[in-house]
Symmetry: C2
Subunit: 395 residues, 2 copies
């Protein structure tokens, strides 16, 4: 006779640990909190009538972002995808170039490459950071590329590999110094995708400030939000000036004439969204503390759940813990969908990592390296509720 007192299933254990930390449901994956000056700034913005392309909040938000990240310049834009598009252009990406992109990331990165008429070339992850692995990438490039006149040529396609776009997955810093060194050795520009890692540091330096250009996102699910928004970070004055020019229709300054001196984009962040951003950024430290507290609570709650760990920031890094992430040991990877089903059914939103971009229809023929780690990771990762408002007070 089968015992009804059977050992709890892994799904039940996960649900129990999550509930222990976040309390009664329903609980979403990530929702913003507006507990600072959001209201005051929005009102000020509306009262000024400057809600759109002009207004003081855009300038203030850019200065505040530069100040917070330590980048010399920040250019605010309409979203993270737009930031990537323009950053790639400014990194010199041209028609028919290839751009190294993690297979394990959000689709925007590969899309932005195609907006430049270039081709994404997918790179494997390393387990410790979830992001691009430097030594594996170096070996791969050594075996598959050659240098020609200071550019890196993919010997099998004949195309130039112009840029790489490492990403700090779920807020955890990638091995950015290792990748920078590959970038330099192989003459491949670096655009650093820090969409998920505002408030994350690699050896004390803010992510997004290592490459020629970095990009941020302030989508509704990010650690701070402007409704929709993004930014380009750079330490190069000319690059910053050009980023602002390209994202504001490439209009040449004139009292009234409409002169546009190159193909530009309407990518500017409206002032009303920047107003929200200014208020959100003021309270980022409390959000970062809350997310760290939340990690600590999850870590404790999952201690007793064998076969699952909560992802911890890499050594020498400080993660913003944007999305809390469970890692299922190999033997339990086949339980991923069960766990996701049962938690969602119970009102606790969880989700897997993305599908590998290399498996999506639009990119199925794109070049790629072998992707064993990324393949393993998508079976093993589950994002769990991560809103800063869920963080219990540390006693």
């Amino acid at each position: 006779m089968k015992s009804t007192q059977s050992i709890k299933s892994l799904s039940e254990q996960v649900l129990e640990a999550v509930v222990k930390v976040v309390g009664s449901g329903p609980v979403s994956l990530h929702e913003p909190t507006f507990d600072g000056n959001e209201w005051i700034y929005l009102k000020e913005c509306l009262d000024s009538t400057y809600v759109s392309s002009a207004g003081k909040f855009v300038d203030k938000f850019e200065a505040d972002l530069a100040n917070f990240t330590g980048a010399k310049y920040a250019v605010s834009v309409v979203n993270g995808t737009a930031a990537l598009h323009i950053a790639l252009k400014l990194a010199g990406v041209k028609d028919n170039d290839e751009v190294l992109v993690p297979a394990l990331t959000f689709v925007a990165t590969a899309n932005a490459v195609t907006y430049c008429n270039a081709i994404p070339h997918f790179v494997d992850s390393e387990e410790s950071t979830l992001g691009m692995g430097a030594s594996k990438l170096r070996e791969y490039l050594q075996a598959t590329t050659e240098q020609n006149d200071g550019v890196c040529i993919n010997t099998s396609t004949g195309r130039v590999i112009r840029a790489m776009v490492p990403m700090h997955t779920f807020g955890h810093p990638v091995d950015i110094e290792g990748l920078l060194s590959v970038s330099k050795d192989f003459n491949i520009s670096m655009v650093e995708d820090a969409a998920e890692s505002l408030g994350s540091y690699y050896f004390g330096r803010h992510t997004g400030t290592f490459g020629l250009l970095g990009t941020l996102s302030f989508n509704g699910n990010k650690i701070i939000t402007t409704g929709g928004g993004g930014a380009i970070l750079t330490n190069d004055k000319d690059v910053a000036r050009h980023a602002k020019h390209l994202t504001t229709t490439a209009k040449v300054s004139h009292k009234w004439e409409f002169i546009h001196d190159e193909i530009g984009y309407n990518y500017r962040m409206p002032n009303i969204n920047a107003a929200l951003g200014c208020a959100q950024l003021e309270s980022i430290q409390s959000k970062l503390r809350a997310k760290r507290n939340l990690y600590n609570s999850y870590e404790k709650a999952f201690t007793g759940v064998s076969g699952i760990k909560v992802l911890k920031e890499p050594d020498n890094c400080k993660s913003n813990y944007w999305l809390q992430t469970l890692f299922l040991n190999n033997e339990f990877a086949n339980k991923r969908d069960q766990i996701i089903e049962s938690t969602n059914k119970s009102g606790y939103m969880t989700r897997p990592a993305w599908n590998l971009l290399s498996n999506l229809e639009p990119f199925i023929t794109s070049p790629k390296m072998d992707l064993p780690v990324a393949e393993m990771l998508i079976k093993s990762l589950i994002n769990i509720p991560s809103s800063p408002s869920l963080a219990p007070e540390i006693s």
Copy 2:
């Protein structure tokens, strides 16, 4: 001895007439008014925490826009440029196609063509509407194109002319039925650029609803604003569905999987911007009345200024009078810059029409027809202060 009692210069007369209508300065060219439910909806949006890609205001704004314009479907996007880009894609514009674009319009239209890797082909205006002239375009196409397998070929470049993008300049409806007939006869799709003409009607039907697709803009200087925003209008259900899909990263609906089945864009309008739009659209009728009042007042004030008229809506059309526009008779066209200088110096913002796109560096080699009317118009047009808040009460 020269008399100091000389007759007033044209610049002085213009300034006097403007001041008579709008009162003491400084007065901007166009600023929005927020005198409805803007506050309430913004607060509701913030309190809900749905400020970004999800939320009820996006759906409501789209339904309200469809209802107001009479289009079956409206898809809100991040700005008018994004609307044009996606509308052109959905009209079938492909690499190396040509797209007929007015030489006299804002640069966004030609830029959007290039985002499709297509080439703008510039078309002359007619004086009565400022927009593309149908009969001149017909003659031009008869002389320079041939039909091949149901597509229109530019015989001198060998490229397909895939689409045309007529625009309703400053809110005044173009001869859209005449152009539709050219569009049909020559197998050229029509995307109707109604960025400036929300609230403008051609024979009782709202602009933007004649072509396969129409586009709107809600930039800060438009008749209603969402900070930054735009929309795609269509009566075709599949086109509407595809527009929504392409503008929201082409993500296939799934409980948690990230499947994207084509190259998509992050062009969605954030909920917080849509909240503003819902409130703005509620008060569009009073804005339209104010703008018509303002036209009537200017018309009266300029009656005595010889050589200048205030642009009136075309016959059988109802214009939203978005930007009030002076037209200088040919003999005074050389006074344009003087008038603009003196009004701006006195604190009354005025500006010329755009430079012809065909003269801008990025488009200097693009194909074009002779542009005598557009050339004449840019020398003759001056936009004068047009905010609805300037409208005097009709006594």
